[in-house]
Symmetry: C2
């Protein structure tokens, strides 16, 4: 069987264009969508990533405000900045960028991001709302997976979908998004034992464990769709996923590459979420309700 | 194979006793744990159920304050009562009893229950906190399942557990509790197609779909543990679960009966949660932190 590569790059451009169009529509309504990224690190690759978000935002007509609090910012300062940004009407979306200074607990901070501005789904309330079907933003990486499935017309309703990984940023929110789409969802993890017990029966396997070579061709059935969320940096600096691509090719029906798959869609979704947040907040203002 | 019946009644007594002991401990610290149940219906069976909670609470040394707002209470009144109870230091636990008056949206109300008093896990924030591993109360019915598994020494770590039902009150929170205990969890539902594809491979099957006779002996493997969360009232007034007991007996290794299984444990957990909430709130007062 020949394995179709599901590139995320063209999808990322489509989503970025959608964000751009929406930003223009908002501008005619007098709203300039604004994303705030709170940073408290001097880690080079993180700063590079944040600047890449800024560039993408600006090219989509979205303001990007980088709030750099320095690598020695305290939890108290971070909390107060997140509260201020949550209350600030000109800010529509907020990201708290990790890593944070040593000793600062991200879990204690994300609760300060107003849910309606929580465009990367970091506040537990966003996850809870997702679970009960109330409007909320899923983490961009989790939504990137369902956007790829939609884009390539891969159905999940009534199908057997196995998610490997149970993190709060990918595995759990993705499971909720898939359940919402009527998939039967199995969540595997490091304590699951032999993965093939589950993955061999799966129509779609999503791997989000952060372990190089975790899934190989022996784990899956012929024709299965494999979505690789892993991003592992090897010692030579190259980026690989959780899937052993060479062994999966020829068995899987389709596979997302790394790089150029799920990860390439994520930033565009942060922008789209920002415009969606701005739209919702401008409606709330018109309705006169608190956002 | 002979099927062991996993009765919940003796476990319920143990938990009720634990709540009682804890209430006594709190009393020596000057705290009388208090549960508030907000009611806005004149449905007879609901009022009967609420009075059964009240009796159980009182016999465990827990105050039970029934706040009956009448069957024509508005959403606004309900919201304001929930906010007041959330702010009232003498109240430790809050339940919003359903059904609510026609047109009143429970989803819009449960967000007003302070998470630290949300002893039946109704606020989406409680579910989100459960998902990210922060302290929170699971819905009592979901916790009743894990309490039964623990009580009868049925391990789930590394085992294949299938949950049938994806509700916000049982299926989803239970999946999170089981993942937390290292089970591999599959969530099936009305769109899953042939259930036996999943349930035949399961070590433990939990059925929480609300459909009489949904799971029968042909669905499971010999020795599987079957937990029946269903409570269906037949036209003759009798109560049955989602499991076809007669056909499962002799195949399942163990089975919870209905009535006398999961449901019988639930009320005792509402009481235990109330004492846990009271303990946590008294500590927070000592620490001088806001609860």
């Amino acid at each position: 069987m020949s394995t179709t590569l599901l590139s995320g790059r063209s999808l990322a451009k489509l989503i970025q264009q959608k964000a751009h169009d929406e930003a223009r529509n908002l501008e005619t309504d007098g709203v300039r969508p604004t994303l705030a990224v709170v940073v408290a690190t001097d880690d080079g690759s993180t700063l590079w990533y944040v600047r890449s978000i800024e560039r993408a935002a600006e090219s989509a007509g979205i303001n990007c405000r980088i709030v750099d609090l320095g690598h020695d910012a305290t939890g108290q300062v971070l909390a107060s900045v997140l509260k201020d940004l949550s209350a600030e009407p000109s800010v529509n979306g907020i990201i708290l960028q990790t890593p944070l200074p040593p000793g600062v607990d991200a879990d204690a901070l994300v609760g300060h991001i107003a849910p309606e501005k929580d465009i990367d789904g970091a506040n537990p309330l966003s996850l809870g709302r997702l679970a009960v079907g109330q409007p909320s933003f899923a983490p961009a990486t989790a939504r990137a997976v369902t956007e790829i499935l939609d884009h390539f017309d891969i159905p999940v309703a009534g199908r057997n979908v196995v998610v490997i990984g149970r993190s709060a940023v990918v595995g759990k929110p993705l499971s909720l998004l898939l359940l919402e789409r009527d998939a039967t969802v199995t969540v595997c993890h490091s304590r699951s034992g032999a993965l093939e017990k589950y993955t061999k029966a799966a129509d779609v396997v999503v791997v989000a464990a952060g372990r190089t070579g975790l899934l190989n061709g022996g784990h899956i059935s012929s024709g299965a769709v494999v979505i690789d969320v892993g991003t592992n940096v090897l010692s030579d600096g190259s980026l690989v996923g959780d899937v052993d691509e060479a062994s999966v090719r020829g068995i899987a029906g389709a596979l997302t590459p790394v790089p150029g798959g799920v990860g390439s869609v994520t930033t565009s979704l942060l922008l789209l979420h920002t415009t969606e947040a701005a739209r919702e907040q401008s409606h709330a203002l018109v309705r006169g309700t608190a956002v």
